[in-house]
Symmetry: C2
Subunit: 214 residues, 2 copies
């Protein structure tokens, strides 16, 4: 853990260097070790309390190797749970044209991302982790709050923004549960365009429509 490193590529831990020196079995996968350690750390500590340093320690690697592979904690989370993209990029794209039509665009993004067999497995894994333990619930809550809904809240910019984001989250998570986990028909087999037309107006109302005074 203390060897000299080149910027961005610690030679002690990089797979090529390790193979070259013959210190690791050919099949060794340091990136895989880091991802496995990250799943354990995120699951045990939640998103906020997990650190790159802690994941590195759990994986038995130098923190610089984690930074070499993953550009930040959110990228590490996305890779650990095999999410299809960093939410920052997806959400910014959905919000860029403004709040008009944002409900339809969010539902379309969501169904596009999760409609594959692989996407379905990922969302089942996240729901399973969230319901299996308090730490798993905290992990998903903190990740959604920091990395997904904080961005939406900032764009919507009303006093009710956090409540609006939580309401939108409830419908999006419920759509995921009904369509991909429990698979209730005819919603599970409906074409993405149909789902957008059905659920988009709900998201739009939650984010920008009139809400009752609370």
């Amino acid at each position: 853990m203390s060897s000299a490193t080149r910027a961005g590529e610690p030679t002690d831990e990089a797979p090529d260097a390790a193979k070259r020196r013959g210190r690791r079995p050919a099949g060794e996968d340091r990136r895989g070790d880091i991802l496995a350690a990250a799943r354990v750390e995120f699951g045990a500590r939640g998103f906020d309390a997990t650190t790159i340093r802690g994941v590195a320690r759990a994986a038995g690697v130098d923190p610089r190797l984690v930074h070499h592979y993953f550009d930040g904690k959110d990228a590490l989370f996305v890779a650990a749970f095999e999410l299809p993209a960093r939410p920052q990029q997806l959400i910014d794209g959905v919000l860029a044209p403004g709040v008009d039509g944002v409900g339809d665009r969010l539902v379309r993004l969501f169904t596009t991302v999760w409609d594959s067999d692989e996407g379905r497995q990922r969302i089942v894994a996240l729901v399973s982790a969230a319901s299996a333990s308090e730490a798993g619930a905290r992990m998903l809550r903190e990740f959604l709050t920091r990395e997904v809904f904080a961005r939406i809240v900032a764009r919507v910019g009303s006093d009710d923004a956090e409540l609006r984001a939580a309401l939108a989250a409830s419908q999006m998570m419920g759509l995921a549960l009904a369509r991909y986990v429990v698979r209730m028909e005819p919603l599970a087999a409906a074409e993405p365009d149909v789902v957008v037309a059905l659920v988009g107006p709900t998201i739009q109302r939650y984010l920008t429509g009139p809400l009752p005074a609370s």
Copy 2:
């Protein structure tokens, strides 16, 4: 399994009779054995394929003892997962006044039933079972379809009734996930009246409002 029985109370298996003969330890809990077997059977086979007879076999008791304790398969499911009431009774009450205001009444019923610590544990257990395995997902899907939404569909009575029920299910399950499992604020701490005012209109639109042609 073959002894003479009185109607509704099989002497071979009833706890009093067992204790009287001294064949069972004092702490033996035949009802608990049946519930444990039911959880395994429902989880492995789903709701539709589970039978009273199969649960009795798995619990090592006479099927008549299961019937003695539980008035039907839905009652056995409700007891096995410690749900607060049989959905038939709850749903019929919500639907009795007609479809006007049914969205608000469903959300109010839901938050009333699940807002306790115990209620929260039950819904977490159901979501956990549904996301842990395909059989668990099938169990929840079949139970919701047969025992909850078939009744709503029958009352709403439109061509789109199954789609409407699935959409309402998506928002109700998502509310459960956001409020009780992931616990996103400020939705998790909101008063029931506030949740009804926020989410009731969504359920009402899904059940009785105009939907886009699909």
